[in-house]
């Protein structure tokens, strides 16, 4: 692992993954969850018309590849629009399916266990479930996207409660969720360009950020993670960056991405010499005037930048994993002070 930054809270460590429709690699990955033993579960959403790209890949941050499980379909153990994942205290892997409006549960090796969820808007029903997170009691919170709320269930799907924010200040198409060490819930309130913090009984404790691209502002945040010191990491998806806030919600740092060649990508380039040679002669950091001056456009041109940083996740050692959907890879960062 190499270090390139000398200041700031976070330093870049490495990039892992590459674009692969099947097998060792990712295809439009949308979320990564890291088990206590370091095993990573990476959800590939794929292209809508490419069923074989849909899967969960098991690997490690060092590039060890254990294989895939799941796949496109509506049978047991299958999914159509996989979105987010979480792991309970027993190591079971839970995945949300936005198209089939349900939660699919696997054991740590990827063997299908059970599923639950019904489409609707009544208590306990779901409309496009996305973010998912467990509290210390193994109760599960689900971002119920098109119902603009979060619902809380037992881990086998028994409804406990739902909430959406105080009064009329409700969530709008919530996406990623996380739980801190005090069982507070953080919601990436995508449509409201903010991060909301709730107590375990659904009382809103704080709301961070407004729409914009300045420090501490967000554009369609998709995911949030909180470390043991209370630092809040936000996938500022529409701004194509990651922002770090302190526990009070004050801006600390922003990352634009600095990807390098992953071990899997290097294998590809070693084999495909002609492509590697042409690549070495290319300038992939060209600073140009963009037809459309947006971070999305900039990221589409400059390969090292985050492009669709959909998910942020922490492992038990505090490493930060940023899953970039459009670049089919994960950039890994670490706290410099650790």
């Amino acid at each position: 692992m190499k270090t390139t930054k000398t200041t700031g809270l976070l330093e870049y460590r490495l990039t892992m993954g590459m674009t692969v429709m099947e097998g060792q690699g990712f295809y439009y990955p949308v979320d990564t969850t890291i088990a206590a033993d370091g095993r990573m579960y990476v959800i590939s959403r794929s292209r809508d018309e490419v069923a074989r790209g849909v899967r969960v890949t098991m690997c490690t941050v060092d590039g060890e590849y254990f294989g895939n499980f799941g796949g496109f379909g509506d049978e047991d153990g299958q999914f159509v629009w996989p979105c987010c994942s979480a792991i309970d205290s027993l190591g079971r892997f839970y995945l949300t399916d936005e198209e089939l409006h349900r939660i699919v549960v696997f054991d740590r090796s990827g063997k299908f266990l059970y599923r639950w969820g019904e489409h609707g808007s009544a208590d306990g029903e779901l409309d496009t479930p996305s973010g998912i997170a467990f509290d210390s009691h193994d109760d599960i919170y689900v971002a119920d996207t098109y119902n603009n709320r979060v619902q809380k269930f037992t881990n086998n799907g028994r409804f406990l409660m739902s909430f959406s924010g105080p009064g009329e200040d409700t969530m709008s198409l919530p996406w990623g969720l996380t739980i801190d060490s005090y069982d507070n819930l953080y919601v990436a309130d995508w449509g409201n360009d903010s991060i909301r913090k709730f107590s375990s009984d659904g009382i809103e404790l704080a709301c961070f950020g407004t729409a914009g691209k300045n420090d501490g502002e967000f554009c369609r945040p998709s995911s949030v993670a909180v470390d043991s010191d209370g630092y809040i990491y936000v996938a500022d998806w529409g701004n194509e960056r990651v922002q770090v806030l302190n526990s009070e919600g004050v801006f600390v740092e922003k990352l634009r991405g600095e990807a390098t060649i992953s071990s899997w990508a290097q294998n590809f380039l070693n084999i495909n010499v002609e492509e590697a040679s042409a690549r070495n002669k290319a300038d992939l950091n060209l600073q140009i005037e963009y037809v459309e001056d947006t971070p999305h456009e900039e990221s589409s041109h400059i390969e090292k930048y985050f492009w669709s940083p959909t998910s942020v996740a922490l492992d038990k050692n505090g490493l930060l994993y940023v899953t970039e959907t459009n670049r089919h890879r994960i950039q890994v960062y670490a706290r410099r002070d650790r």
Binding site: V20, A265, L269, E275, A278, L286, S300, S308, T325, H328
Partner: protein
């Protein structure tokens, strides 16, 4: 006449993708001329936003494959409040036809569509300059291989033949001189990008967007003689000269007339066949020069002309597959949120013969009745009737509610047909079509009209029948 809803419905079919009765009524309140102005200057666009689309369809953000640009575009056509802008992008796409089969880069094609949308209703000169710098066009017509001292004529030839003037208005030498002027117009990191495109390579990290790059060292800065003018012309100078030509004005005028008013023969025949309405072409040619090549000025005159408004023109054109699909989707309101069904709807247009961003050749698609054969006609009718017949779709549900809420609407078969034709876009039908509709509405089948009971199923069936009529398949 200014508030004639039939005429405004005609305008919305031609200058947009059609509209339901309620939407046409809103335009009618403002009058025909104001509706034309609203189409030409739509203000801030209301549509399904890019963020929402990208959230649920990552490929419509990363664009690695051949279908993403077209799906993205179809979302826009189905949901935009600025339909003429999309219609004009579609118009230019048919002329500056660029396809995935050779470009093999979805985002480059989507970027081209964005360019056509941005510049398609302004100065034709600006549009041509953007087109000449468009990375997808550069690869499509090999201008990356057009070098100082070793020209590739492809772009120069098509610029004159297919994009601006037409055969017979320039010489082979003009083509060569034109090509010389565009030497050095290429894309950045050409070798790597071209290699990846040829290999359809997504590796290692997805596609990298293309952008234009000018290489002065590869540009032939020598003197050139082009269309009778001499100078050290660069690409912009060539476009300036092209835009000054009468042939260019007539070429674009004839294209606009053919697309919006009445089908002209295929372009290769223009050299030998006079326009059906030479006065209209003369008029549009004058506007082209008077307005300094402004496309919107030409459209304004065209939409306000008698030849456009005449009832003889109504339903005289066959909707292209994309026009048909987008129009149906606007009626059904299906895409009030991103849905996986966009894949199917997009492919339906290709089954009917129009694969967006992948035209059959540099000449684009043949229009008019060429869209119809026994296979595509079945596809078209099946698609429209199936979609319109699905009363779970929000737009259809609302139509049925509106119709059923007034008892008089379902009191007789005549009333029911009249109101269904109105709801579907103020459609007027010929006698033979009316007879078929009447026979259908009068039949009991499983759902006879009954003033005392729920007629929703019958209304749905009649709406479905309207979608099957020849008038609905035309614009």
């Amino acid at each position: 006449m200014d508030n004639d809803i039939g005429l405004i419905a005609h305008l919305m079919r031609r200058a947009g993708f059609g509209a339901n009765r309620e939407q046409i009524g809103v335009h009618a309140d403002g009058g025909y001329r104001d509706t034309v102005e609203a189409l030409l200057s739509p203000g801030e666009e209301d549509r399904m936003g890019d963020h929402l689309i990208r959230r649920f369809h990552p490929e419509l953000s990363g664009m690695m494959g051949p279908n993403a640009p077209g799906q993205n575009w179809l979302y826009r056509m189905a949901t935009t409040s600025a339909p003429l802008r999309e219609k004009m992008a579609l118009f230019w796409h048919g002329i500056f036809a660029t396809g995935y089969a050779k470009v093999i880069h979805g985002k480059a094609l989507s970027d081209q569509t964005r360019m056509l949308r941005t510049f398609g209703m302004g100065s034709f000169k600006d549009l041509l300059i953007q087109l000449s710098k468009d990375p997808a066009m550069i690869i499509w017509l090999d201008n990356q291989d057009n070098h100082k001292g070793a020209i590739n004529e492809n772009f120069g030839r098509e610029l004159l033949e297919l994009f601006t003037m037409g055969v017979g208005n320039y010489t082979e030498r003009d083509i060569k001189e034109c090509a010389r002027a565009f030497t050095g117009w290429t894309i950045a990191n050409r070798d790597y990008m071209e290699l990846r495109s040829q290999r359809d390579s997504d590796w290692p990290y997805g596609r990298i967007a293309w952008h234009f790059e000018y290489h002065p060292e590869d540009h032939d800065d020598g003197e050139k003689e082009f269309l009778g003018q001499r100078g050290k012309f660069n690409g912009e100078d060539i476009i300036h000269i092209i835009c000054q030509q009468e042939a260019t004005a007539r070429f674009i005028s004839r294209h606009l007339y053919s697309f919006f008013v009445s089908d002209e023969p295929p372009v290769p025949e223009w050299r030998y066949t006079s326009p059906a309405n030479p006065e209209a072409i003369d008029q549009l040619t004058r506007v082209y020069f008077d307005s300094n090549y402004d496309i919107s000025a030409m459209l304004r005159v065209l939409f306000n002309a008698k030849y456009f408004q005449s009832q003889d023109s109504w339903y005289s054109k066959v909707k292209s597959p994309v026009e048909l699909v987008a129009g149906v989707l606007r009626l059904t309101g299906e895409f009030n949120r991103p849905r996986r069904e966009i894949i199917d709807r997009y492919f339906q247009a290709s089954y009917m013969g129009q694969f967006l961003n992948n035209p059959p050749s540099v000449e684009g698609w043949h229009q008019g009745t060429d869209w119809l054969d026994t296979g595509t006609l079945v596809e078209r009718v099946n698609f429209a009737s199936q979609q319109i017949g699905d009363s779970n779709k929000p737009g259809i549900r609302e139509m049925i509610e509106r119709i059923s809420s007034t008892p008089d609407n379902v009191a007789t078969p005549e009333n029911l047909i009249r109101v269904c034709l109105e709801e579907m876009g103020v459609i007027s039908v010929e006698e033979d079509t009316m007879k078929v509709l009447m026979d259908f509405a009068s039949q009991g089948n499983n759902h006879p009209l009954n003033a005392k009971s729920d007629n929703r199923q019958k209304i749905s069936e009649v709406l479905q029948m309207v979608a099957s009529t020849k008038e609905f398949q035309r614009s």
